[in-house]
Amino acid sequence: MVGPFALFKWEALWRDWPVFAKGFGDTILASVLALVLALTLGIIFGVMGSAPWKIAKFINRIYVEVIQNTPLVIQVFFLFNGLPHLGIMMPVLSIGVVGVGVYHGAYIAEVVRAGIQSIHRGQIEAAFSQGFSFTEAMRYVILPQAARVVLPPLTNQAVSLVKNTSVLALIAGGDLMYYADSWSSDNLYYGPAYVTVAVLYLALCFPLASLARYLERRAGAAV
């Protein structure tokens, strides 16, 4: 009887390390791109959610509620199976980036909105009184101040974003989880494959999570 973590399985994994390296690289790439997309969407929709215009608030609500109240897996499946019907062909990794980016964009929008609302009302009034428009006031006065407040929760979002790129495995997405899965379903060496994958995610997420905790402590100390 051979154990799931038998030495020769680890040796096989070590021999095939480029497979895991490729997956690790793709996961990092997808994470970075999805994070950029999520931040962009999060800032735009977070600002809309704090805007004085009803229509902007309404659009913010629809986006946030729809995305937050449906599973990420369904959203990604929808993109994967639905987009080709609309004549939109995208590489699998891009689908992952869009799916995960849009998903976390909704959470970041809420973080940004809360951050904006934590800034004293007098700040935007001072900006308005000087002739700033709403968007100028946001850009030069409110968001730079809100950035300090939202940095810790934003970093936490980055952590779950990295982990959530693993949904790509479900749509043959070429990420770390996908490579590990397909490598081990060929040879049935699941044990070492999954442990290695977990360690690699940990290596990405733990420093980020620690950074979030540090930022939280620093913000707490500043108050």
């Binding site: 308005f128 009184s129 000087q130 006065v141």
Partner: protein, 261 residues
């Protein structure tokens, strides 16, 4: 400094003493069921120094905030320098550039240095070159006695110093009108005078000022006209001599007797 501001203003507008710079016509403001401003008609002339007094909650802040549309009137018109800013699609932001506001809580930008507080809007909104904005900013800081704090952050200053910076920030927009909403009410008593001194100095220049305050000494010293507000109405208006020596309304007398104790 003052004469320079003077010529600025003469260039920018055709006003003579007595022209109306701020005009409020039939202005009402409701907050839900609360009727905070009741049919306000008010006209402030170019270069006039108008002081607004009245008990807390009488609508003074709402009145002055309707002048630059931080509060939008529920009905009525506000006309600034001939532009009806309450009209749909009025160039509100543009008009606001020419009328600066000083707040009770200072509202300096905490993430910017003192000098950056002064230059942010001139550079971004009015398109003034950075070097020029810096130079003018330093001149105004000197005028309020804070040139040595140019590179400090607001949180490093006392309340009185912050309010003087806020006044310098307002001045660096080269406004025609300055609105003050209880600029000394949040200050420790020993810091009130330094701010009032700056405001008196300003008042001697040609700028139009609307000042909500409880500082009766200031009102006497600089006001052309004092108005007394109560429950959303202008109950009484007149030059300070008349106003303080023989007010006509019972409620004005009552208010003055409390505040002048």
């Amino acid at each position: 400094m003052e004469s320079e501001g003077e010529s600025e203003r003469q260039k920018s507008g055709p006003h003579r003493e007595g022209d109306s710079l701020i005009e409020m016509q039939g202005v009402n403001k409701h907050f839900g069921l609360l009727h905070v401003l009741r049919d306000i008609d008010l006209s402030v002339g170019a270069k006039e120094k108008l002081v607004v007094i009245g008990p807390s909650g009488s609508g003074k802040s709402t009145l002055i905030r309707c002048m630059n549309l931080l509060e939008r009137p529920s009905s009525g018109k506000v006309i600034i320098n001939g532009v009806e800013i309450t009209a749909p699609k009025a160039p509100v932001a543009k008009v606001r550039q020419s009328m600066a506001m000083v707040f009770q809580q200072f509202n300096l930008y905490p993430h910017k240095t003192v000098l950056e507080n002064l230059t942010l809007a001139p550079i971004l909104i009015k398109g003034v070159a950075k070097a020029e904005a810096d130079e003018n900013g330093m001149a105004y800081l000197e005028r309020v006695g804070l040139q040595n704090k140019a590179h400090a952050y607001p949180s490093q200053l006392s309340g009185g110093q912050q309010q003087r910076v806020a006044i310098a920030r307002a001045l660096n927009m080269r406004p025609e009108i300055m609105l003050f909403d209880e600029p000394t009410s949040a200050l420790d008593p020993e810091m009130i005078q330094e701010v009032l001194d700056v405001m008196v100095d300003l008042a001697h220049g040609g700028i139009t000022m609307v000042v909500v305050t409880h500082e009766m000494g200031f009102a006497r010293q600089v006001a052309d006209r004092v108005i007394f507000m109560d429950e959303g109405e202008i109950l009484e208006a007149g030059p300070p001599e008349h106003f303080f020596s023989n007010p006509s309304h019972e409620r004005t007398k009552l208010f003055l007797s409390r505040i002048l104790r």
